[in-house]
Symmetry: C2
Subunit: 151 residues, 2 copies
DNA sequence: CAAAATTTGTTTACAAAGAAACAATCTCCC
DNA sequence: GGGAGATTGTTTCTTTGTAAACAAATTTTG
């Protein structure tokens, strides 16, 4: 009868169904969507939070290294850091050893703020993948860690 | 001693190390990066390809349904479809039943083009996750499929 | 049936992220 | 020591995607 497709779950994806890159993109988008639904505007976006968190645990880290680890391009990192600086959350210091580089540290306010934010952030993170069993979630985490080359 | 961190793999991520959302974002970025390294400008970007692929397999699909399945927002979908229309790859038709909607079909050229593009696209997709064993890759795919709700 | 609410797609304005060109510094090597 | 080349960060421009307001058609409901 050639009934037009009316709902998303009737859509035929064919080979896309087992394409790793495609599935990963979908997964990521789903996580983001849920993040903004649940956490709303908690005044620190996930990107900002992870940047601040990493600086907290690596005081004086250089912009370039931070960017490499979080896969943020230099051009974009410049903007992120400046925005954080404008909010008085980080301070930049050009080290004596290498005057091209910039070393970044949290301000005391930011330390408090990040520790506080970490509560809801990780609470959310733990709720991600709630439709999986504990084992599956565990496996997924391990596989992703291997996939991205973390330990 | 306070040696500054010099390389990305010395960075302490602490709890971020097992945060599913974080790992997923990293994984996705890694896939994209490799995609552009390897496939370069093959004249069809991954987003465009998947849109066209899904239209190929669901001729006459509505913009809204397409967007729901691929998690593309309406506003953005409008632009994507227009761009594809400008390249003479899709045609739009307002169905009689519901004159708000738009049904999309591939042009004959696009059918050829997508089938051709599918060769390198899926070749790339199969190379994703080459640092995992076959079993692991298989598991990861299955877990992601469950995660995103693809039965 | 008519008013209210919803769906669908578009437009406009904006935010997030990348690419390329650039300047300053540093490293390497002759 | 002094250029050639690499690194580091910034700037500018462009692409990609989202948000909010809107218009038109449809569905709901009183």
């Amino acid at each position: 009868m050639d009934m037009p497709i009316r709902t998303a779950d009737q859509v035929e994806l064919d080979r896309l169904n087992s394409a790793l890159g495609f599935l990963m993109r979908l997964a990521q988008l789903k996580i983001y969507e849920r993040f903004f639904e649940e956490v709303g505007e908690h005044n620190l976006k996930p990107g900002e939070f992870s940047v601040l968190w990493v600086i907290l645990h690596n005081p004086g880290i250089r912009q370039s290294v931070l960017g490499q680890r979080l896969m943020i391009k230099r051009a974009h990192m410049t903007k992120l850091i400046r925005a954080l600086e404008d909010q008085n959350l980080v301070s930049r210091k050009v080290p004596d050893g290498d005057r091209r580089a910039v070393e970044i540290t949290l301000t005391p306010e930011a330390v408090t703020r990040v520790k506080q934010a970490s509560q809801w952030f990780f609470t959310y993170e733990e709720s991600v993948g709630a439709n999986l069993t504990g084992d599956e979630r565990q496996q997924l985490t391990a596989l992703l860690r291997k996939f991205v080359g973390l330990g």
